[in-house]
């Protein structure tokens, strides 16, 4: 989950953003607790076990610290807005009575009076389940830390509406990559790492005093509990600081476990051995056709506009369907309401501008736009090769948000977002290996107009309705052949989340989409997966125009049951209808999370199993181009793993996964049988399995992680065939990155990646195509060879100056520092009798300048 710096760090029903509360619990129990732990197993046993132990004659007292049940957010002091660069921390000592109320609060570690006052005010609104001794409520004292996130300006001071149910994250929060974002769990075990107050004097009813080392930081997270086996989060600050991504939000996802390295300049998201077309990208629940501008240069939504990124590598919840890979769901943040703000950024790739601010007390807006200028320098380069360039590669994107608080409980929002990529060249000197010449063009674009209401109902229920309409276009011109497709998706999502009972929550909703599609094409057959290259020139083509319409309704429901503290059982089902296949699919999904040791250091065991269906693509299933009568692709995801806190801000997680793939749509040559020269069937199957490991650490000035994925992805095109390596299989994926703040203005970071080379199909010579005057390759077994391993070091340096009303920063992001010639495939001579590796990008420094108002 992502948070950007300019956004409110904290969101709640009570508003008042900009601060993070970290609960630091010592209570009046630590010494006794240590003694109890020494003698009475198990540490962090469930309350019942503790009670049992306490009942034994002669047993040491069993002490349970207080548990936060009602959080309170401090208000960021307006006069300090935009003046702080580093996190401001205030540590209080809270006296909690036997009813769980905060009887008194004193400042133990001060920053400044205005922050102290904000923290003391918020502390009075905290409510705890009282500490207990042998099951009896007692009063106690605890240190409690509020951290005010370093932002350039204050967060909204009136109630704001989170874009989706989400989990705030802050720079000082302990990292929880697979976070169980529930309210703070009981913390019977205490350990010291946080900069908490010195030993708190024992409260009258407390059996013993706590020590400075008896502290545990529990991140106070917001409303959304983790309802998936794995949800990875990256904070906004981390995104901007990860080397090698140029500060791009979605590209930062590539550093997480389970995500393969995208083949060079393709910008594909390859998740857990699935093809890139199996992973879907959403903006606040609205599907978009592409996450990246062409070449994967940058995301279609700038990082500055994102509130969060939810990335689910598999076993995702029932809210999502029609896909069997992973999910990336990005959330647009709310415009700021604390005055007008702007951002201007330039780097070697593009320039961007953003303006936002309030329109009255209850309304706010945001407008942003970006344009690349790759064309300015690439156009002359292309022209120097004799290529006529009518449109050099250029991309645009734009966003606009208008948000209004209809009532205190309901916020409505109208959002527009879209992107466009264009390239057009004229080849007068065609490549002799395939002499297609003339005009070449590629353009793709999409836009969405999204209307959303977000209502908080009684009893903590939440109801979101999202309606979006848009247009996706793709226009490919290849000399005299072409593909021109326009589709208009109308998407509706209604999501209700309600508490049915104390430990039972319901998530249910409707997820429907309707497409209208118009197309015209004149093309040869689509190449099969791994098909050896064959000249395009003079191959027979088929021409057709078509219109199609598809309405795909979906319903989902999930029960989130917590039978006991720390145990969460999530069982749901999704029902989808696909008109092209005339199928109703029922997709049951179950996930389990159990805090085997809740509190610090938390140990969570987790697992899940689910069924996922994915409709065939239109060109596969819709006549006259496709083959009617296909079924949906089907996948079963199984995963299990654990999360283990090792120290404050340090967590290790591991997860094994297995994907069983069936009914996969496979293409067959059918030149004499169909208009397209191809046919499709559901004869394919496959599997993907592996393990993911993540060691992640975060401190005040440091963050970093080591992510490692070991996996194998295999396919077969027909029953009885042996399994073969899949095109996107990468055995080892290792990412190690770290970033450190040297001071108030300097930051440095490094990232090193090692990835097994991509599989490729070697060619064993060629035969001549006398119509094209060139050669077609003869294939060896599919994907029977691999490129050499990829490894690369990226470095990043940031410097930022904070002025009274604005800030200015520059950065240098150097990719491939040691200029490794990473192989990105093979190139062949004219008749495929000789080959040599193709090197990827050389060292690439990118300099950027960024000003924020």
């Amino acid at each position: 989950m992502l948070r950007t710096a300019a956004e409110p760090r904290w969101r709640s029903t009570t508003g008042c953003g900009c601060a993070l509360a970290l609960l630091v619990v010592t209570c009046g129990v630590p010494r006794a607790a240590r003694a109890a732990r020494a003698e009475s197993p198990p540490e962090n046993a469930p309350p019942s076990a503790l009670a049992d132990g306490a009942a034994k004659p002669g047993a040491r007292p069993v002490l349970v610290p207080p548990k936060l049940v009602e959080k309170a957010e401090p208000t960021y002091p307006e006069e300090r807005a935009g003046k702080e660069i580093d996190t401001v921390t205030v540590v209080l000592e809270l006296s909690i009575d036997a009813t769980g109320k905060v009887a008194d609060a004193t400042v133990k570690s001060s920053s400044s009076s205005d922050f102290d006052a904000a923290a003391l005010e918020a502390a009075q609104r905290l409510v705890f389940a009282p500490a207990t001794r042998d099951g009896a409520a007692i009063a106690c004292k605890i240190p409690y830390r509020f951290s005010f996130a370093p932002i350039a300006a204050p967060a909204p001071s009136t109630p704001s509406t989170p874009s989706t149910p989400s989990t705030p994250s802050t720079p000082t929060a302990p990292l929880s990559p697979n976070v169980l974002a529930a309210p703070a769990a009981p913390a019977p075990a205490v350990a010291a790492t946080a900069p908490a107050a010195p030993a708190a004097p024992a409260a009258p009813a407390a059996p013993e005093e706590g020590g400075a080392d008896d502290v545990v930081d529990l991140e106070v997270k917001a409303e959304r509990p983790s309802r998936e086996v794995t949800r990875h989060e990256i904070s906004g600050e981390e995104i901007r600081r990860i080397p090698g991504t140029n500060g791009d939000a979605i590209r930062s996802v590539e550093n997480l476990p389970g995500v393969a390295r995208s083949p060079s300049v393709t910008g594909q998201l390859v998740v857990r051995g699935s093809g890139p077309y199996d992973t879907q990208v959403f903006v606040d629940g609205t599907w978009i056709p592409s996450a990246y501008h062409f070449g994967g240069i940058s995301s279609v939504i700038p990082s500055e506009l994102l509130e969060r990124i939810d990335f689910y590598p598999g076993n995702f919840g029932v809210e999502y369907g029609r896909g069997m890979g992973g999910i990336v769901d990005v959330g647009l943040r709310s415009p700021r309401k604390d005055g007008f703000h702007g951002l201007l950024q330039f780097d070697l790739l593009d320039g961007r501008l953003m303006v936002e601010g309030p329109l009255g007390a209850r309304t706010r807006f945001l407008v942003a736009a970006r344009r690349s200028w790759v064309d300015l320098w690439l156009k002359p380069v292309l022209q120097s090769t004799g290529t006529g360039v009518s449109t050099a590669p250029v991309y645009y994107d734009g966003q606009a948000i208008l948000e209004h608080d209809l009532t205190d409980q309901t916020t409505v929002r109208l959002a527009f977002f879209g992107a466009s990529d264009k390239l057009a060249v004229t080849l007068n000197a065609p490549d002799p290996t395939d002499p297609v010449a003339g005009d070449f063009g590629f353009s793709q674009s999409f836009w969405r107009l999204q209307a959303r209401s977000d209502t908080r109902l009684a009893g903590g229920a939440r109801w979101q309705n999202t309606l979006s309409y848009g247009t996706d276009t793709q226009d490919v011109q290849i000399a005299t052949d072409y593909v021109r497709i326009t589709q208009h998706p109308l998407q509706f999502r209604s999501d209700l989340r309600a508490r049915l009972a104390k430990r039972v929550n319901l998530v249910t909703g409707v997820d429907a989409v309707e497409f209208w599609v118009d197309g015209a094409l004149k093309v040869p057959p689509i190449p099969r997966e791994g098909e050896a290259p064959s000249p395009y020139f003079a191959r027979p083509t088929s021409s057709l125009t078509f219109t199609a319409r598809s309405f795909r309704p979906g319903l989902y429901a999930m029960l989130d049951v917590e039978p006991e503290d720390g145990l969460r059982l999530l069982s749901g089902v999704r029902v989808d209808h696909t008109p092209e296949t005339d199928e109703w699919n029922v997709s049951p999904r179950i996930a389990l999370r159990w805090d085997a040791h809740h509190g610090y250091p938390r140990t969570t065991l987790k697992g899940g199993i689910g069924v996922f269906y994915q409709p065939p693509q239109g060109f596969e299933s819709v006549a006259p181009y496709g083959t009617p009568g296909l079924s949906n692709n089907r996948a079963t995801h199984v995963s299990a793993g654990f999360e283990q806190e090792l120290a404050q801000g340090v967590e290790l997680s591991a997860e094994g996964f297995y994907k069983d793939l069936r009914n996969l749509v496979v293409q067959h040559d059918a030149a004499g049988q169909t208009a397209s020269g191809a046919s499709w069937s559901n004869s394919g199957s496959g599997r993907t399995f592996g393990g993911e490991f993540l060691l992640r650490a975060r401190r005040e000035r440091f963050f970093g992680w080591i992510a490692y994925t070991l996996s194998r992805s295999e396919r077969r095109d027909a029953p009885g065939e042996p399994l073969r390596v899949f095109q996107y299989d990468q055995t080892h994926i290792l990412t190690a990155l770290a970033s450190y703040k040297l001071g108030r203005v300097w930051e440095i970071g490094a990232r090193w990646r090692f990835v097994t080379g991509n599989p490729y199909t070697p060619y064993a010579g060629g035969i001549a195509d006398y119509d094209a005057g060139s050669y077609a390759a003869l294939s060896a077994p599919l994907y029977s060879a691999r490129d050499a391993a990829f490894h690369r070091l990226d470095l990043r340096v940031d410097k930022r100056w904070q002025f009274k009303d604005w800030s200015l920063g520059w950065y240098l992001d150097v990719q491939n520092v040691y200029n490794r010639r990473n192989p990105e495939g093979q190139q062949y001579n004219f008749n495929y009798s000789q080959s040599q590796p193709v090197a990827g990008l050389p060292i690439l420094p990118i300099v950027g300048l960024r000003g924020e108002l």
Binding site: T266, I485, A768
Partner: protein, 319 residues
């Protein structure tokens, strides 16, 4: 191309086609590498195969004429066979068909000899046997084996179901002889005329076939880089007639406009462009130092993208 397969059900073909169609050109065979260019003819090569009827009707006879060359002057044996309605429009499909036929002991008629021409007959049911929707892509594939020795249908060259054995009895590697496919497109009514080369020019002046030009080698052109030559350069071009650029609406109702390209080949030297569009056919050429004292043969082959082609041959003596 990133696309969500589930929903962008119309968008993906474009990306797939773009990758498929341009991928070879973009990621390419031979570009930016140290390989010798394909325009340099070495060993046994067949540069073009012209059909007198690139678009033939069912039942018609089609005569094929090959432009073959062996730089060592060896006698070539030519083998000819056909494949009707292969599974794919890629030329490799004909070879797979031949392999299947040989594997099941039912080899197709195979004509071998020293002639670089052959005549094939389009089956009368070449169209009627196909579903209506598939007739627009109908073709008769003619598989041609060109061997500087003898063709052995019982042998193998890797996975290729035949062998070429030279005079010493050595089975040649695949790049030492040539296998290729010429498509004869089958239509009920349509025709396609081969392009006509009206003239060839040398440095802008007409260049008759009998006119052997004399040039000095470019000593600095030691690599395969035309732009590295700072010595004597010449410009040549094959000009096609205006009628060669055909366009219209075919019998399936699809509009077409032919692409017409000129491809250059030579036994020595470096072309500025190995291929040019016919509307702008000029290309530079230089002789390398290694060609001193030799006579270089150059071929300029005009092709349209509907199977039509023709060629011109010229010679240059290198001082």
């Amino acid at each position: 191309m990133s696309a969500a397969r589930h929903a962008a059900w119309a968008l993906v073909p474009a990306g797939a086609l773009l990758v498929g169609a341009l991928g070879a050109a973009a990621s390419c065979a031979g570009c930016g590498s140290d390989f010798d260019p394909g325009s340099r003819v070495a060993g046994t090569r067949v540069l073009a195969v012209q059909a007198d009827r690139p678009y033939a009707h069912p039942g018609e006879q089609v005569t094929l004429t090959a432009l073959g060359y062996d730089t060592q002057g060896r006698a070539l044996e030519w083998g000819w066979t056909t494949c009707l309605d292969p599974d794919s429009t890629a030329v490799t499909a004909c070879l797979l068909r031949l392999a299947d036929d040989l594997a099941r002991g039912a080899p197709p008629p195979f004509q071998a000899g020293s002639a670089s021409t052959a005549t094939v007959t389009v089956p009368t049911d070449a169209l009627s046997r196909l579903p209506e929707a598939a007739r627009g892509s109908a073709y008769l594939g003619v598989l041609i084996v060109t061997c500087p020795g003898h063709i052995d249908l019982t042998g193998k060259t890797g996975d290729v179901p035949l062998a070429c054995v030279d005079a010493s009895g050595r089975a040649l590697a695949l790049d030492e002889f040539e296998i290729g496919v010429k498509r004869v497109f089958v239509r009920a009514q349509d025709r396609n005329a081969n392009p006509v080369i009206a003239s060839v020019t040398w440095d802008g002046a007409p260049w008759a076939e009998s006119d052997v030009k004399e040039v000095s080698p470019c000593a600095s052109a030691t690599e395969n880089r035309y732009d590295r030559c700072d010595g004597e350069k010449h410009t040549l071009a094959a000009h096609v007639t205006a009628d060669s650029f055909e366009s219209g609406v075919d019998e399936t109702g699809a509009a077409f406009t032919e692409q017409l390209v000129i491809q250059h080949y030579a036994t020595e030297g470096i072309f500025e462009y190995d291929a040019r569009v016919a509307s702008s056919p000029e290309s530079g050429w230089v002789a390398r130092a290694g060609a001193s004292g030799k006579t270089v043969t150059l071929w300029l082959v005009a092709r349209d993208d509907r199977g039509g082609m023709s060629w011109a041959t010229r010679q240059v003596r290198v001082r």
